[in-house]
Symmetry: C2
Subunit: 109 residues, 2 copies
């Protein structure tokens, strides 16, 4: 599956608002660590740690380009989140359909 060998999973990765913002930035375009850091009022070290965390979760990949390290979004692990949510959507559907049936039968009477 997607979560083998990683110290951190997707659920932990997206728990932090800074990391969520980084993912949004990387969705737009690939960026260097310095460029990402400029979007926050945080030290480069802090941003780097978040990038390591995201990399651990498989949500980003890094690639050296000269003296820069460019980061890129890797959205695949979000599927796990999607599937997890799907379970509860199913739960909602059941509750809603029960309500819908009740309303419909009420209208039919």
């Amino acid at each position: 599956m997607a979560s083998s060998g990683f110290r951190h999973d997707v659920f932990e990765a997206i728990a932090d608002p800074t990391r969520r913002k980084i993912l949004h930035l990387l969705a737009e375009r690939e960026m260097s660590i310095a460029a990402i850091t400029e979007c926050f009022s945080l030290s480069r070290t802090a941003v780097n740690k978040h990038l390591q965390f995201l990399s651990d979760a498989g949500l980003v990949i890094s690639q050296k380009a000269g003296r820069e390290t460019r980061y890129q979004l890797q959205p695949e692990p979000l599927v796990e989140l999607k599937l997890w949510l799907a379970f509860f959507e199913h739960y909602w559907d059941e509750k809603l359909s029960a309500l819908k049936k009740f309303i419909e039968s009420d209208q039919n009477d």
Copy 2:
């Protein structure tokens, strides 16, 4: 919107596997703290803390029933997660990635 006044948000709440399991349990049926605790090899105190955390995030509500405190799932805050994911699904759509196909085939099953 949904996240005003809460110390913890949905993203933090679902970051822990124990809390995710609790949500799954409560999706099936409303349960007392003791009943939930029996499903884990954890102390009641630990489980209670997780329930407080989930309550803080608005994902569960408690209700006294005699000497028991029964907990119930409150799935509405998960909508925030759904919307967040939707952003990346849109991104995937634009990129026409293979991931989109995977998700769609999963939904069709």
